[in-house]
Subunit: 315 residues, 2 copies
């Protein structure tokens, strides 16, 4: 049986929710509501286990609150790795829980390495891992972010798993941080480095295009650079852009609309802190799920509104 | 009490073993001796736990076999992450065990992200993690590899922990894989991208120079490009080069000698598969520890021999 292409799966999920925005589970333990942290603290002798389980508990409430309105979630690995094995378990269980709710799960892991090591990373997050003569799914996410600095052979193992298992990758092209230009904006042969990377991404994605015309090889393109987004759209017409920087990092709805093609597809807008920690602007921290949902609904409305204004709303 | 600078610690460890080469624990489960895998398989109901514990057991034997002749080990995270939380535990316990044997432990994690996320990564691997009002060490490694694609603000949190906790980083400059040139060799303003990154590395390292004149900010420089190494040496005079690619990846002793300064310091040569899986060239897989030690001894002799030939052997 042929697996279903990742890009097709993602676009179908977007259609089903009429929403191209996803929620980032950048679940920084220190910002989780105090009542929740205290509750988990008393239940576990091991403090790392308490933190891991607290993060998982927090995430489940957020997922419960938004799963019917968003097509997927992105899990930022750093905030889990902090807590060692217990944090890894929180990552794994969060991914399982989100998948169980029908969400597309993207791991923001930004991995990359040389050939056989990249293969191990791809096995870990997308493919299957060798286990006593058989092969078993590891984290079994739908997609991951990857770093392009090592070139094609660091990416190839991921491409193979994308094809084999219907998974996807998002290659860092232009990131949202203030110093992203130090390497990414250097100019070589009349093109910025991130534009050269965009060319690589376009090539990597050609062999894995789904029925809906998009590739399983996407690109991370920061919403804080709207002019750049329009140019990159042309260089990678079949790539789905994973657009961070909405809300907390400064991107607005009119900015991110440039990341879409004229068919209204081709971008997934992402917000994390602004949604999951929205409770910090309210009186009751117990309502962190409701607060997150409200901001997620508002984000959808803003983005879909801006799409309508531009005449590219597909729903 | 002021912590001891990482570069000083590393050079002292190199002096104490009269050996600038370290062993890579790229402990690919599928290549661990079959007798060991079978032994662990029968002891654990959970197959991921069996794999994680098998990797840890394998590593302990390797560490026991080489700890008196090498200054440190490098742990390649990908081969651990494959096994989820159990793999993370194997990573953590391997690091603890190696530190207990007096070894410098470098995590080959190649992480990088935007500001607050990079901070979480740095806390995880080098610094301390927030835990119910206190701060606790996470993996507490001596150093990690990092990726420069996001520029300074992705690196800064690591620099802060390097200074605060006497830790180190090795920034990917020029990697050993065949397609490394696709991004790294692009030419901008008369310089290749990896040379521009070398300039950044030199800048990042200036504030964290130890008593022995080297910085806690090192660089990953591939031994497969000896001509490039000599040029990079001049661009980053105070950086310690972490040189992969010895042995299995094709680098030879005369090649890697170019990575050292004339004082005989400034490089750490690294070999993984060629050492830890040396048993595959022998009849008895039970002797994998002895086989690894023999290759490690040979690597030291070859490198120190080539240093002597060039007149830069400090011992």
């Amino acid at each position: 049986m042929k697996v279903k292409n990742f890009a097709d799966r993602l676009l179908d999920a977007i259609d089903s929710k009429k929403n191209p925005s996803i929620i980032g589970l950048d679940s920084d333990f220190a910002r989780i509501p105090a009542f929740l942290r205290e509750g988990f603290k008393s239940r576990f002798a091991d403090k790392f286990a308490a933190a891991g389980n607290c993060i998982l508990g927090f995430n489940k409430t957020i997922i419960d609150a938004v799963h019917d309105i968003v097509p997927g979630v992105k899990i930022q690995s750093a905030f889990y790795e902090q807590y060692g094995p217990a944090g890894c378990r929180a990552f794994l269980e969060t991914a399982k829980y989100a998948k169980g709710k029908g969400l597309i799960v993207i791991g923001d892991v930004k991995r990359s390495d040389i050939g056989n090591t990249s293969k191990a990373y791809s096995s870990a997050y997308l493919g299957k891992v060798p286990l006593f003569g058989s092969a078993q799914p590891g984290y079994d996410l739908d997609g991951v972010t990857v770093n392009p600095y090592l070139g094609s052979d660091g990416i190839r193992p991921f491409l193979e798993d994308c094809e084999k298992y219907g998974k996807g990758i998002f290659v860092l092209v232009k990131t949202s941080n203030p110093s992203s230009g130090e390497v990414q904006d250097l100019v070589s042969g009349g093109k910025k480095i991130y534009e050269s990377v965009a060319g690589l991404v376009n090539g990597w994605g050609k062999g894995i295009v789904g029925k809906r015309g998009y590739s399983s090889v996407g690109a991370v393109v920061a919403a804080t650079c709207p002019g750049e987004a329009a140019g990159l759209r042309k260089m990678m017409p079949r790539a789905i852009f994973l657009v961070p920087g909405y809300g907390a990092q400064g991107g607005s709805a009119p900015d991110v609309v440039q990341d879409f093609n004229s068919d209204g597809y081709g971008a997934v807008i992402h917000s994390a802190r602004g949604v999951i920690f929205a409770y910090q602007n309210r009186n009751k921290e117990e309502e962190f799920g409701t607060a997150a949902r409200e901001v997620a609904v508002k984000m959808r409305e803003e983005i879909v509104g801006a799409m309508k204004k531009k005449g590219i709303n597909p729903w």
